[in-house]
Symmetry: C2
Subunit: 345 residues, 2 copies
């Protein structure tokens, strides 16, 4: 109370003085490092508790070169996929003593570069990138060069996005297999004109497309480019798009996002097609949306919680033993097809 409260904050010298010990001893008590007599420890801890002392994180950071913070970069957080990932990551990291510094980069390369640089300047211990937008377009390695540069400073972990490079570790859902399975199921249940709708040409969207192509090939059904629809991730947009003249007839649709699938449901309702009798629809991400629509949407669940826990495990491994941690560069987590009422497998 009678202290010189230049900041209202007590420092290690104050504690040392009050306990009649040196700052080194106080430091040792705080960090449970080195030998301290039980008696001294008790005394110091008591005072720290009474004063409600919190060490200055900046000073600790300066000495140790870490503030136990992980940078998380997403294009936008206003998206179910991103926010659920962040939710899992934050919870698990917090329980292990790490904080999250969040940054929304947008989808433009310049924003991605800028926000990566800002995060790095905060001396984060590791960087997490969520979403396959960070993979850039195929065949343009220069679009991911800034990530490889970042990886020279801190380990980089990507979620549902594969990036080639030293010190970059990806944890992904098997998008390809998921869509292949769904395609096969649709074919097995009698569909022949299966459409594929996506809002992106990202790494994961391409993997999904690959699964679709493989599924068709497997059954000997010819792939038709005009059955692949590139649309906006908007219920309203898709609803109208599908009514367009350029859209060939289809009896099933696989979407890379639940919103897109729901746009198809709305379209079907508009033109009097019955789901799943006349049209089967499959979404992706198993979001709340898939329960909100009518009929309820069959969707692919990418086991986000598992992806995130693997990611956190890998981060801690790489931080705890930087050298010997032999991490796989691409780790694949199983998915699940959640069947509801828009298909009849």
């Amino acid at each position: 109370m009678d202290k010189d409260c230049r900041d209202g904050s007590v420092n290690i010298y104050d504690i040392a003085r009050m306990a009649n010990v040196s700052i080194a001893t106080v430091s040792r008590v705080m960090n449970h490092s080195g030998k301290v007599s039980e008696k001294t420890r008790q005394k110091v801890e008591k005072i720290m508790r009474e004063i409600d002392y919190t060490p200055n994180a900046f000073a600790q950071g300066l000495g140790l070169n870490t503030m136990h913070a992980i940078g998380i970069l997403v294009p936008t957080i206003a998206d179910n996929f991103m926010s659920s990932a962040i939710d899992y990551l934050e919870k698990q990291l917090a329980s292990r003593g790490y904080n999250c510094i969040l940054s929304c980069s947008g989808f433009e390369l310049s924003g991605k570069k800028l926000h990566t640089k800002i995060l790095l300047s905060k001396h984060i211990d590791a960087l997490i990138l969520i979403g396959s937008t960070y993979a850039g377009r195929e065949g343009t390695p220069e679009e991911t060069e800034y990530i490889r540069e970042a990886a020279q400073k801190v380990p980089v972990f990507t979620i549902n996005c594969y990036i080639e490079g030293e010190n970059i570790y990806s944890t992904v859902s098997d998008n390809c297999a998921a869509v292949r399975e769904v395609t096969e199921k649709l074919i097995a249940s009698g569909h022949r004109a299966i459409a594929f709708a996506t809002d992106s040409r990202s790494y994961s969207a391409n993997k999904k497309l690959e699964g679709y192509v493989e599924g068709l090939a497997q059954a000997g059904i010819p792939f038709r480019q005009d059955m692949v629809f590139y649309v906006e991730k908007s219920i309203r947009y898709v609803r109208e798009y599908l009514k367009g003249d350029s859209v060939p007839p289809f009896d099933a649709l696989i979407a890379t996002e639940d919103e897109i699938a729901i746009g198809a449901l709305k379209y079907a309702a508009d033109i009097g097609k019955k789901v799943p009798e006349d049209l089967s629809v499959v979404g992706y991400n198993n979001s709340t949306l898939s329960l909100a629509c009518e009929p309820e949407l069959t969707s692919i669940d990418n086991h986000m919680e598992e992806i995130c826990s693997h990611t956190v495990d890998r981060i801690l491994q790489s931080l705890q033993s930087p050298e010997e941690a032999e991490l796989v560069h691409e780790l694949t987590v199983p998915y699940a097809v959640i069947e509801r009422s828009t298909t009849r497998f």
Copy 2:
């Protein structure tokens, strides 16, 4: 290249040496502070650019006692309301040079206290609390005491949550007026048995209830406690709940969350009630869900972007001129009723 790369990081001494100036001069160039000759400035800036020098944020933090970081506390981020708020906040704060440290506290008091403490220990410049869960239950000021304590260290800003106290500033949507307006509109369009469904007894939920009560009173319709349903925020739960025996007949339902409203739509479909002919439904938050369901949901939009931009403005005001910034403790932002197909006003 031939440096002692103990961390791969260049420091101010290196720059000073390379430019043949003192560290003080380098610091002045960086901060655009003090007088520096044009020639010297050019020279130093050139070297900084070439080396791609980034000042050590911890050292800066230690000296200035800020790392330009704002703490954001939410119960969970896997919620449309929270994640859209964070999205707006992060974007606006980033554009003004502030980073966000994110923490998910859960809904338990112990978690809230713990995470508040952790955030404060990171020397954040301000703390943002999102959601009225932080207001605690009515008449229990001890549940918000930790927030008043936090407010002694940094200014605290709450979003859609009012907390009484020094250095605590709330920005809220006028939940009461919104629900009153909707209630009046339902009455005007012929409804008499209007139910109210909520998943919470939080500050904002109570404000909404208040609006409902006022709206009924205005029209001389007696308030009935058994027309207020306390439910879970789950489509499935509400869908079944409304079929229960204890639920009296109702011809309209106002929900405090879109999920709850959609549960009511599903219930109506199940028992063959037509919406809006037999039952009108109003949701809250105007989330993507309100476009996914069938029919599309009338919902109240709380103008989150505006709430967030007001909050950020107020934060910056209070940080830039801590003393003279005369901020209102409770700022109310207008809402909008978005009418879709579940009502006929």
